[in-house]
């Protein structure tokens, strides 16, 4: 899946390190890595509605401002999409719980990840446990 991450939501992108799996991990969290002297939770894409298991090993870790690590395979680059490239996510689309919109550019369909929705979803997973 190709995603868009707003640069304002990103702390940084770091090289991927081995994730320490958490026994009895909460849904949505794969485990943790050490980041700036603290544990950083790492997202489990496969647990998200509409999320998929990435092929191959993650090459990098995008660290969101709300202190969550997203394993990613590679970075395409930066874009500034025009407003006409955007469309809303269908209610039926399972990714609507964590995506704020879909941008179509140069034949690519990019889903814009919404950190606030994603964190709220992970918290809901925790409460439902």
């Amino acid at each position: 899946m190709d995603l868009l991450l707003a640069t304002l939501d990103l702390r940084e992108v770091v090289a991927s390190t081995a994730v320490a799996p958490l026994p009895g991990r909460p849904r949505g969290i794969e485990g943790v890595v050490f980041y700036q002297g603290e544990f950083l939770p790492v997202l489990a894409w496969k647990d998200l509605p509409g999320g998929s298991v990435p092929e191959g090993e993650a090459g990098a870790l995008a660290v969101l401002r709300p202190r969550l690590g997203l394993p990613i395979q590679r970075l395409f680059g930066t874009i500034d999409p025009p407003s006409e490239a955007w469309r809303e996510v269908d209610e039926q689309d399972p990714t609507a719980a964590w995506v704020s919109g879909i941008c179509t550019m140069e034949g690519l369909q990019l889903r814009a990840l919404d950190p606030a929705r994603l964190i709220a979803l992970l918290r809901r997973f925790r409460e439902d446990r």
Binding site: I29, F34, P41
Partner: protein, 674 residues
């Protein structure tokens, strides 16, 4: 909040922490050189606070810090002796400044006088100081008046104030507001009438209250009592009357040898032995770094630790001609790093009694103000928490205790009528529960008024009529934003801070607030705060290929090399038959075919026959001290307290209380399956 001030706030927090610790020293009997060193330290602290506040443009704060600095200056020069009541007043002053700093940090405007609540006591302290060489006793600062009004008194008036207080006459203030057109005649008439009741010392200009027109004055008079009925006051002329200075507060040592009528200044009290400045070695203070700098050092150290781990892994993968020698050196480096980390952690930690020491003077003062005697007890002061948490917890904590005294405890007459002891009880207990520090604040007062909470909840649309909410729901409701059963906040608990704000502050620290109460029996406020890091002595065990740490405080017994056991079996320990459950089953890991080792876990601090379980593990590895880091909220996993970075990866430290619960659940499921 301006983040560019973060370093300054951290510095201030440290200064306040030092001040509390030094004041705590003064509360205990100490030799004179220790007292002198403590006073010097407090003088320096308030001096630094004054300078920092002035630099940042907080002039009112700077003035208040200057006032405190003056008192410490009088003490260090031997003109004021350290007594219990003096230390109590100074502590209240330090607390007032600290609360003021917290408000500034939140961007609140500066008040006119941070030390307003203890203005009278501070004035008395200054007044009672032994005069400087060649000086005369001046008791003017005993008058409970703003600094500007005190400055307006003439030399003669100051002498009269001193003499009249020495002769045991109280000094009163009568504030009046007079019409522009007739104020001169009215002032003359009222001054004459008041002069007939006692000695009219001074007529000072006064602030005209809002909504009134005219000229206001304060008539300062020395007499036993002011008979307002005998004054020719017209409607609306009287603003207020107040006792400005109580002669009973003048120590008898000052009055002795004085005729009681003389206007002359009393002879200075007997020369106190001059306290020599202590030798340098006794003034050495423990190095305290601001929390932010400690954090930066820790992060740097962490990075060094990770580099060491990588180097160690490389050495293991590619052994060179030097054999095991480099690996042994790496192990030594690991031990050294852990020691430095522990030292840094120690610099971040303070004993919880520092928090308790802030509560005690406030409770004493509130008890006096409300006329409610309070028996205050603390437990668990020896536990430690992070200094940064101490600063953030103080205000919510003080508010909760204020609430308990203000709303919880009944007045003595009501308590006696209910068959309770005259003194109310407030018990504050700190304990460590898993990865949390738990604070329980219990009082034996009237409990929360659930009926009123319910009706207020309906009024606010938070509850529906006829819904019959449970007591738990009603207690939770009291923590909702904007929820208050009082139309006007009381003077004590008021201050614009409600329980919802306390909850928000506690939750911002990752903690939880829980209320419960029983009508007429009392209330319990439970506050749980996660520890972000700690050094924990653990038993290391292997299970499902991973290494876990079990805090030693919860380990009752360790057994290895026993016959093969399975989850659900019973084992004999000290003649007791205990249920055995595998750690794998507790944590949701694949179950083993059987285990030969187990660890008997019990509830920490509980009686020997309380809940305990034998926890089956694959291998016992030994004990060790681990630097524990808590898990971020999103990664909370059942039974895991936190993790410790090790060369081979993360070692998970178990939360014994949670694991006990998980083991019991798992055993119950086994029974249900059978």
């Amino acid at each position: 909040m301006d983040h560019s001030f973060d370093d300054v706030w951290a510095e201030c927090e440290d200064l306040f922490q030092q001040a509390h610790e030094t004041l705590a020293t003064l509360k205990e009997p100490q030799s004179s050189h220790v007292v002198q060193a403590a006073i010097n330290a407090l003088f320096r602290t308030t001096h630094t606070l004054k300078g920092m506040a002035g630099m940042l443009g907080f002039h009112s704060f700077s003035r208040a810090a200057h006032r405190m600095e003056d008192i410490f200056d009088l003490m260090r020069k031997g003109r004021l002796r350290s007594t219990d009541s003096l230390v109590e007043t100074l502590e209240s002053g330090v607390l007032a400044l600290e609360a003021g700093m917290a408000d500034l940090r939140r961007g609140r405007p500066e008040p006119e006088d941070y030390l307003y609540a203890i203005r009278r006591e501070l004035g008395e302290l200054e007044a009672l100081a032994r005069p400087a060489q060649g000086g005369v006793q001046d008791l003017t600062s005993m008058l409970d008046l703003p600094a500007d009004a005190l400055k307006a008194l003439s030399e003669y008036e100051r002498t009269r104030v001193t003499a009249l207080l020495m002769s045991s006459l109280p000094i009163h203030g009568v504030a009046i507001c007079l019409d522009f057109a007739t104020f001169d005649e009215r002032l003359k008439a009222l001054s004459e009438a008041l002069g007939a009741q006692g000695e009219l010392i001074s007529t000072l200009p006064w602030d005209v209250p809002e909504g009134l027109d005219g000229l206001a004055f304060l008539l300062v008079v020395a007499c036993s009592t002011v008979d307002l009925g005998a004054l020719p006051l017209l409607g609306g002329e009287l603003i207020s009357t107040a006792l400005l200075a109580n002669p009973d507060r003048v120590p008898s040592a000052l009055k002795e040898g004085d005729s009681g009528q003389s206007a002359e200044a009393p002879a200075p009290v007997e020369e106190a032995p001059v306290v020599q400045a202590p030798p340098l070695a006794q003034e050495v203070e423990i190095l305290r770094l601001p929390a932010l700098r400690v954090e930066a050092l820790e992060a740097r150290l962490m990075a060094v630790g990770q580099l060491r781990d990588k180097a160690s892994q490389l050495l293991r993968r590619n052994p060179g001609p030097l054999g095991e020698h480099p690996i042994a050196l790496m192990t030594q480096m690991e031990e050294g790093l852990l020691e430095v980390q522990k030292s840094l952690l120690q610099m971040r930690m303070v004993k919880i009694e520092s928090l308790f020491s802030r509560i005690e003077p406030m409770v004493k003062s509130l008890s006096r103000d409300t006329g409610k005697p309070v028996k205050l007890t603390f437990n668990g002061g020896e536990l430690e928490l992070e200094r940064s948490l101490l600063g953030k917890l103080s205000e919510p904590f003080l508010h909760l205790v204020r609430n308990a005294i203000d709303h919880g405890l009944e007045p003595p007459s009501e308590r006696l009528a209910l068959g309770k002891s005259e003194s109310g009880s407030i018990r504050i207990t700190a304990s460590q529960r898993g990865r949390n520090l738990r604070f329980d604040i219990r009082d034996d007062g009237r409990g929360f008024n659930l009926e009123r909470i319910e009706s207020r909840g309906i009024e606010l649309g938070l509850l529906k009529r006829g819904q019959s909410p449970t007591p738990e729901r009603l207690h939770r409701l009291a923590l909702e934003p904007g929820f208050s059963t009082k139309d006007r906040a009381s003077q004590l608990s008021g201050r614009g801070v409600g329980m919802d704000v306390v909850r928000a502050e506690v939750e911002a620290l990752g903690g939880e607030l829980h209320l419960s109460s029983e009508a007429r029996r009392g209330s319990l406020i439970r506050l749980s705060i996660p520890l972000s890091r700690a050094v924990v002595s653990c038993l290391k065990v292997r299970c499902a290929g991973q290494v876990f740490g079990i805090p030693l405080g919860s380990v009752i017994r360790v057994q290895a090399g026993r016959p093969l056991r399975h989850g659900g079996d019973q084992v004999d320990v000290f003649g007791l038959s205990l249920p055995l459950e595998s750690l794998q089953a507790c944590l949701g890991l694949p179950e083993p075919d059987g285990q030969r080792s187990y660890v008997v876990l019990g509830q920490q601090g509980a009686a020997s026959r309380s809940v305990s379980v034998a926890l089956g593990v694959d291998e016992i590895l030994g004990r060790g001290e681990l630097l524990l880091r808590s898990l971020p909220e999103l990664a909370h996993a059942a039974g895991i307290m936190g993790g410790s970075a090790q060369e081979e990866g993360v070692l998970w430290v178990l939360d014994p209380e949670a694991v006990l619960g998980l083991a019991m659940d798992s055993l119950m499921r086994r029974v249900a399956r059978v």
